[in-house]
Symmetry: C2
Subunit: 215 residues, 2 copies
Amino acid sequence: MNQRQSIRIPEPSVRRLPLYAGFLRELKDQEKDSVSCTDIAGKFGFLPIQVRKDLAVTGITGKPKIGYQVEELLKAIEDFLGWNNCEDAFLVGAGNLGSTLIGYEKFKTLGLNIVSVFDDNPRKVGKKISGCEVLPIGKLGSLIERMHIKIGIITVPMESAQEIADIMVNAGIMAIWNFCPTLLNLPDSVIVENVRLSSSLSVLTNKLREKLKNP
Amino acid sequence: MNQRQSIRIPEPSVRRLPLYAGFLRELKDQEKDSVSCTDIAGKFGFLPIQVRKDLAVTGITGKPKIGYQVEELLKAIEDFLGWNNCEDAFLVGAGNLGSTLIGYEKFKTLGLNIVSVFDDNPRKVGKKISGCEVLPIGKLGSLIERMHIKIGIITVPMESAQEIADIMVNAGIMAIWNFCPTLLNLPDSVIVENVRLSSSLSVLTNKLREKLKNP
DNA sequence: AAATAATCGATAATATTTTATCTATTGCCA
DNA sequence: TGGCAATAGATAAAATATTATCGATTATTT
């Protein structure tokens, strides 16, 4: 019996893998055949050991003195990250940020396909954003169920985020990409990834202040 | 001699503090006087001990059986995060994302004041975005110097990000908030905070795939 | 063909972050 | 007023992530 179900993969590694993938694409375009951890680490200012450990999660092995096969490794990372079989997603909140995200063609190459947009502003409903028709919130739940959508993206104002999340979860959404600054109150079974610009900005300004204090 | 210069503050704590601040504002609006770690932890699904440790960096102390004074604690966090003395910043790249960021009034309450926008598209130069006139890239360096700007925000396409970063650094920028997926190659002295949606998305989809495999 | 140097992969050590334990304080209630 | 319960704060333990060490492998050079 194969009981390997959870050789847990460190989240920091998962966050770094997309970087490596980007670099590997560059190398592939340059028709480079192989690349070493030292090269990759040099590119990003990491340590070679860390890169090697990150890459190990893909199961690909390298050759001493040579490194890894660029194409093989790139394919393995893309597979690992699920970039080769796109998941459909619904986005709610056709404001500025929402519209920006809908327009990102690149998400398709990252395994995400935004298929519909929802908003409760009657002026927006019916309009198209990057070729995507805006639907009323009223249809959100039933369409999630009917289309078996698993990923929801929330870009609504703070006040309505929880309400939208509840509709999503009740309809069967399994993962939420939340761009709203408030944290959502959800069952543990639902996966949530929060994009919090305020946290990112705080890290930046905090480091800056440290530096200004002790130059 | 006071050699305490670096009682290093964990970055994870810095990332959580803005959450607490948001909650404390809510409590303040509700005219609540005090709050315990247990309350805060409950709100976010953290452990009380972790919250207590995070709050400790502000130097504020609480009272057993009561907790912390809401106003005092909020003020301390805001001070700690530098939200009470705004830094001026330049943003480069008046595309979709850039325009979205410029429009975020809320940044002001997070200690960031976007004072000018730059773009190399002649059609955009001279236009206004959220009341902010778009200036040509040619003026970027000299204005950074003249106005002693310390924070730069990069929302240009991948290809030009490094070039813009170089201009910024040469002109004296000390910290860069980078929204471009490529990592920038910069001197160690420059602070960089990368917002990488691809990493965030990868974490989400990776967890989702894990869950679909072992439900 | 042997020596060399670069690199991988495994294992071990270190550092960081999270979680637990314990004591002391304080308000509340009997 | 005395005991109880909730909580802070300090210290310790555990978990996690990063960095170092070391032996094995393989292309390259001599």
